[in-house]
């Protein structure tokens, strides 16, 4: 096995060309590594959802009517309420992001608490929102596609809710380092994605059958 020295022995002499000790250690937005990984996650999840929506529309071609005969339209009431809740949740999302960027811990805690309450409510309402599809996943391909799309988005939602609740909890129970402000902004960043991608899904899955 290796008995080599662990010291870096360079092939060449080293010439100092600059000093980085004065660079910041906490940055926000696209300068931070976490922001990029969040973006990567968003692309993966968004793309998966897009493929599901394409499959939904592909299966649409196999039917004369959409929803299929003897399948009722999805209800609109609960989904619309939940959509409103999601839009409402953008207020604490934006506010907490701004507070974090100001390094304003009291304001951040306040907004995170409100944020947590709303996202928790959204997940709870999501349960009835699934049944508002008015069909089951094993009724026909239409039901399978609609349930899978909403179900998959629910898993994204649940992940973000766990993230928000955990972050809020951390802020209330333990001292937090400065770099966690950056995490708080990324939390909001991911939430914009979760809400943003829901709008087309809502339109296609709940409103769409009335149109096409």
């Amino acid at each position: 096995m290796t008995t080599m020295t662990t010291m870096a022995t360079s092939a060449k002499p080293l010439r100092p060309a600059g000093d980085v000790s004065q660079l910041p250690t906490v940055v926000f937005g696209s300068r931070s590594l976490m922001w990029w990984s969040t973006l990567g996650f968003m692309v993966v999840e968004g793309w998966t959802l897009a493929l599901l929506v394409v499959s939904y529309l592909y299966l649409r071609q196999n039917y004369e009517a959409w929803p299929p005969l003897r399948t009722p339209y999805p209800s609109l009431l609960i989904p619309t309420i939940n959509l409103a809740l999601m839009l409402l949740s953008l207020i604490p999302a934006i506010a907490s992001q701004r507070a974090a960027k100001r390094l304003d811990k009291p304001a951040l805690k306040k907004w995170l608490l409100l944020f947590s309450v709303i996202v928790f409510a959204i997940v709870v309402v999501r349960w009835w929102e699934l049944w508002a599809l008015n069909t089951r996943w094993d009724t026909n391909a239409y039901g399978s596609a609609a349930w899978t799309i909403v179900g998959f988005h629910t898993s994204l939602l649940a992940l973000d809710v766990a993230d928000t609740l955990g972050l809020t909890l951390f802020y209330f129970v333990r001292p937090m380092p400065v770099k966690s402000f950056s995490d708080a902004t990324d939390n909001s960043f991911y939430w914009y994605f979760t809400v943003g991608i829901w709008i087309p899904v809502y339109l296609i899955v709940y409103v769409g059958p009335r149109i096409f």
Partner: protein, 651 residues
């Protein structure tokens, strides 16, 4: 080395300063010793090495399966394997080679080498990297335990419904769907890691036009993974698993489902998958040719553009796997055109490499021999690929041994030949010792002969009407002799791999010591010792050209000022790689492994009962919580939020 061509000695970093810094860094970055340290390791080189070894074990497993199948097909109506066993073996062979060997080993080479090549202390997310590896291990163990429990998947690595749904009783195809899930997660995690490493952790001065071509290939492939893997996730983890487990109707034509939907989704992933495997292979070639031809590569920009265009086209070809299905003729023509177009960027790359050889002075060490082997085999596979793009011809050759020959020429020629070359090339970096040149030559010639003797006859067999995936054939078909030849070739390949293994073991124990830069090569990975220390570089190197070690003829410019008492990495801006901020990296942790275990509970459990899924998710939540809690606890301050106005970029 004297400094007569460079700066006065007093302006260089002194030996003592370097040694002091190195000792402090070693203290900070080394993974803990012992079993616990082994389980909690996050060093990208440790994980990368394990990844490479695990994936290579999978190559051996897939190879043994192939040898069994070839033995069965050596003569007509052979009874060595029953249809049932053969079907499990060919499915496991395909699944292993595609999902558990080829993609993981290519990303693993990237996970090991990319941070070194871009001059970074570490990969962007070391813990997530460890999580990806352990997830992959869960998939590996799951598939092979299942195979030995007579539950090996048996409906093909392409799992066409309804054979994979209604007509696959038991849990065999459930195993397949979930093994794919684990490799998806591992591949996606690795892809994000590589992208962020390349975007944010490049050495100062390594602007986009100075990124090494291997890193370009890895970057392009990482993007391909991000857009291809979700397709198979949609298909297998959602649609197929749902159809099997909870009665959905994605593929039930009687309830509005569609079996062709699966083929579209699967090949939308499956075709890019091929490029995900051989683009990194092509990435290995440039540094090998440059080093052994002693010449900078011809047409850097063309090679980068070729990578990018190949990636784009790769997503527009999937229908050429479906020419025999009832889909509109016009669509088929478009896919034919796209399938032929993709030959152009690949051709350009080959011409650039040949030009580099021509204008250099090649010495035929083993890595370069494998590159020559690449030319010999891969071009053959490329040309049959262009043939198969033709609808008329494809309808004859599709699903025959002609396609088997084609795909093995492409993947063994375009992926494995360069991979073996890369093993010989970077083994000294990873292990600190060189592989034996003599055994290497034996390995090369046996492998080259074996590949061609095995797969060339298959072209003819296919055109003589032998379909793929048959466990036997009748004597009156006349396919016996050529099959026997192919089987003999298969054994030659097996012998060559044994020679390679002997070489690895011998050289690992007592090979010639390598030193930091044994081949006098140009990339930053050769600027540090072999094997590299846990922190990769004592000081972050500054890049002033595409070939840092060739152009900075005497000294290597470096950045100072990163803290050595905590795991600090230097991030730079995405496009021109100016120093941006210092990022604190996490210590080793058990939670990545734990979390991978909970993924095992969720996905394997989903086969048996939804309660396992809920329980597994609950356990995962605990893991995530502890992961976050611990990383905050380990944080070493103080933090610095704002940059001073003027940080002179002296690089």
């Amino acid at each position: 080395m004297s400094a007569d061509a460079g700066l006065p000695v007093e302006l260089l970093l002194s030996e003592e300063a370097i040694a002091r810094e190195a000792a402090a860094l070693d203290q900070t970055w080394r993974d803990k010793p012992g079993v616990w340290g082994w389980l909690t390791a996050v060093d990208h080189k440790t994980i990368g090495k394990r990844y490479i070894i695990t994936a290579f074990l999978m190559f051996l497993a897939g190879g043994i399966e192939a040898a069994l199948m070839r033995t069965q097909l050596a003569r007509p109506e052979n009874t060595l394997l029953s249809a049932d066993k053969y079907n499990q073996l060919f499915t496991t062979h395909g699944t292993t080679m595609m999902f558990l060997f080829a993609v993981p080993i290519m990303t693993a080479m990237g996970l090991y080498l990319v941070p070194l090549m871009v001059g970074a202390r570490s990969i962007a997310f070391p813990r997530i990297n460890a999580f990806g590896y352990w997830t992959y291990v869960v998939g590996v163990v799951f598939l092979y335990v299942s195979l030995f429990a007579n539950t090996g998947p048996d409906a093909g690595w392409f799992a066409y419904p309804p054979l994979s749904t209604v007509y696959s009783p038991g849990h065999r195809m459930d195993v397949w769907a979930q093994v794919v899930t684990f490799t998806e997660i591992a591949a996606l995690v690795a892809a994000v890691n590589i992208i962020v490493t390349v975007f944010k952790l490049r050495s100062p001065g390594m602007s986009l036009n100075r990124i090494p071509l291997f890193v370009w290939a890895q970057l392009v492939v990482a993007f391909m993974i991000i857009f291809a893997m979700p397709a198979v996730a949609t298909g297998s983890t959602l649609m197929l698993a749902e159809d099997r487990a909870i009665n959905t109707h994605w593929f039930n034509y009687a309830e509005g489902g569609d079996v062709l939907l699966w083929q579209h989704i699967f090949w939308f992933f499956g075709h890019p998958e091929v490029y995900i495997i051989f683009l990194p292979g092509l990435g290995f070639i440039t540094p090998i040719i440059e080093t052994f031809a002693r010449r900078k590569v011809f047409g850097y920009t063309a090679l980068v553009m070729a990578n990018v265009t190949t990636a784009f086209f790769a997503f527009g070809l999937w229908v050429h796997h479906m020419f025999a299905t009832p889909i509109p003729e016009l669509g088929q023509s478009l896919f034919t055109a796209a399938s032929m177009l993709i030959a152009i960027p690949t051709g350009v790359q080959i011409f650039c490499w040949i030009a580099t050889l021509w204008m250099g002075r090649p010495t035929f060490r083993v890595p370069l021999l494998f590159v020559m082997g690449f030319f010999f085999t891969f071009i053959n596979g490329g040309i049959t690929g262009v043939m198969l793009a033709s609808v008329g011809f494809d309808k004859q050759a599709h699903d025959t041994f002609f396609v088997v020959a084609h795909l093995h020429y492409v993947l063994l020629g375009g992926g494995i030949m360069p991979l073996f070359g890369a093993f010989y090339f970077w083994f000294p970096k990873i292990v600190g010792r060189k592989l034996s040149e003599t055994l290497g030559k034996w390995h090369f010639w046996l492998f080259l002969i074996g590949v061609n003797v095995t797969f060339f006859p298959m072209h003819i067999l296919g055109l003589e009407g032998m379909p793929r995936r048959v466990y036997t054939y009748m004597a009156n078909t006349g396919w016996g002799p050529l099959n026997l030849v192919a089987t003999i070739g298969g054994y030659v390949i097996a012998i060559s791999v044994v020679v390679f293994l002997v070489n690895v073991i011998k050289s690992w124990v007592a090979g010639e010591l390598a030193g930091p830069n044994p081949w006098n090569s140009s990339g930053l990975e050769w600027a540090t010792s072999s094997p590299p220390p846990p922190y990769n570089f004592t000081y972050i190197p500054v890049t002033t050209s595409r070939h840092p070690l060739w152009d900075t003829s005497v000294e290597l410019p470096v950045m100072t000022g990163l803290r050595s008492d905590r795991r600090e990495v230097l991030t730079t801006t995405t496009f021109d790689a100016r120093p941006d901020h210092r990022h604190e990296h996490p210590e080793g942790s058990i939670w990545p492994m734990y979390l991978a275990g909970t993924m095992g509970v969720v996905f394997i459990g989903s086969i048996f009962s939804p309660y396992y899924v809920l329980g597994g998710l609950g356990l995962a939540l605990i893991g995530l919580f502890m992961w976050a809690w611990n990383s905050i606890g380990e944080h070493k301050g103080p933090d610095r939020v704002l940059a001073p106005d003027a940080l002179a970029e002296r690089a």
